[in-house]
């Protein structure tokens, strides 16, 4: 079966002006490949600023004007051209946006969801969608500023899934939600997947990702550094990249130990491994050339020494 979404070697650059007319190009996503099969929830996890949201915007073709995109995005086996995405987005391909400020502040929730339609059928469709997330009729009469953070988020999700989409791109759908509301939303994403849709779940929260996803892609400084089955996160030894292991170790239930430092800014790493500054096992060959993404124990990893990562953990444990 054809995958519902295929991304091949996607790169995104921002063109900036520094001092007068001198232009520079800032690579924010480099050589990214990702596949979402129908019936699958694929999570993209990474630090803020690693390019997760840009990925969503690239698929929907809503990147800012000063950006340049390279690589191929295919939907349902065919390339997703500008004309095609304009027809599909909001219908077959939907976005659950990250910010609660994506709602129109001057329009009540109900009319905003219905996008102007007033017929009974549309009304019922959105009432059902709101009801599914525990929001009642009264919410339709409120303005966005009258909603709490969690309520606004549920309105955004209801708005997206009421159209019975085939590809859902959810950009940080759960922060600010209590555990039971978050679980209900994740369960619904699973339901959509079981009904044959593909779901791309973008989040910084590994726990959320693991609760819903079949596969997890980890982002670091605009690159995929690991792709693993959700089950691999059961134990540190099953993970392949040192950054993924660092994420695992920083979870409150696994020791809460942070590694020092932060990911480099876009354009800061000219060559070699972008994680080198934070990595305990960095060697000389990590500092030059580009590090390829390759298969390793049933997953993908962008590290020259994944077997050493294994061994080190073997000794610790």
């Amino acid at each position: 079966m054809k995958p519902i979404l295929e991304i091949e070697n996607l790169s995104i650059d921002f063109i900036q002006y520094e001092r007068g007319l001198r232009r520079r190009s800032l690579p924010v996503i480099r050589d990214l490949s990702l596949t979402v099969e129908a019936g699958q929830v694929v999570a993209v996890v990474g630090a803020s600023g690693s390019g997760k949201s840009l990925l969503a915007h690239a698929i929907l073709d809503i990147l800012p004007y000063n950006s340049r995109r390279e690589g191929i995005i295919r939907y349902d086996g065919e390339e997703l051209t500008q004309e095609r995405i304009q027809k599909l987005r909001g219908r077959e391909i939907v976005l659950v946006p990250q910010g609660v400020n994506y709602l129109d502040p001057l329009m009540k929730v109900g009319p905003q969801l219905r996008k102007g339609s007033r017929d009974a059928q549309t009304k019922k469709k959105y009432l059902d969608a709101l009801g599914r997330y525990g929001l009642d009729d009264a919410v339709q009469e409120l303005y966005p500023f009258e909603l709490s953070g969690g309520m606004a988020r549920r309105v955004l999700i209801a708005s997206a899934v009421a159209e019975s989409p085939r590809l859902v791109i959810a950009d940080e759908p759960t922060p600010g939600l209590d555990v039971s509301s978050a679980a209900r939303i994740l369960a619904h994403f699973r339901e959509l997947a079981e009904g044959g849709a593909g779901v791309l779940l973008i989040t910084h929260d590994l726990e959320t990702a693991l609760a819903a996803a079949d596969r997890v892609a980890v982002f670091y400084a605009g690159e995929t550094i690991e792709e693993a089955a959700a089950g691999d996160f059961a134990a540190e030894e099953l993970l392949r990249h040192p950054f993924t292991q660092a994420l695992w170790n920083a979870m409150p239930q696994h020791g809460f130990h942070p590694i020092p430092g932060a990911q480099p800014y876009p354009g800061e790493t000219k060559e070699g491994c972008p994680f080198a500054r934070q990595c305990g096992g960095c060697t000389e060959d990590c500092q030059t050339g580009s590090i390829p993404l390759r298969g390793f124990r049933g997953g993908l990893v962008r590290c020259l020494h994944p077997e050493r990562v294994q061994k080190r953990n073997g000794q610790d444990g």
């Binding site: 630090a47 803020s48 600023g49 922060p175 910084h204 590994l206 994420l247 809460f256 942070p258």
Partner: protein
Amino acid sequence: MLEARDVTFYYRGRKKSPVLDQVNLSVAPGERVGLKGPSGRGKTTLCRLLAGYERPRAGKVLLDGRALDSFRGVCPVQMIWQHPETVADPLLPLGKTLEEAGAVEPRLMEALHIEEGWLTRYPAELSGGELQRFCLARALHPSVRYLLCDEISAMLDLVTQAQIWNFLLEEAERRQLGLLIVSHSDALLGRLCTRIVEL
């Protein structure tokens, strides 16, 4: 001791359905109290009341038995917000934002890993985790004794979350700060708090 006594609060025009109805809560120095509850239950509103941004419609907010607005100078109760980008002036470089809150001890800047170069940048040029460090530095004025942390790490990745909390726990211990920690993550609250309250 920071206390909310029988606090009731409703937003304008919603008198019939108050967000908070006779709520009681106390935080002692050195204590780390977790606050959890479903969304829309008034967790942030309670923090705003405790920090003095709003006044309760009924009931009292007291610090060591005195009304909060009777304290002069920097308010000893400071709030740290969920979205750091919404509480830093977008038109000021961050160094200026910090200055407005009074001099920040160099020790804090070091412990929070705030780099010299960040001081001349604008909020839009830093990531959420970096901005949140500034918000912490700004809130940790020497006269501050209570911190209200409203989902301060919900938007951060796990590594940054652990970095920030490890710092804050150490600082709270050192200065015997009282913390009120709002979060939806049971694992996080379990790790951080001495006591957990449900709203």
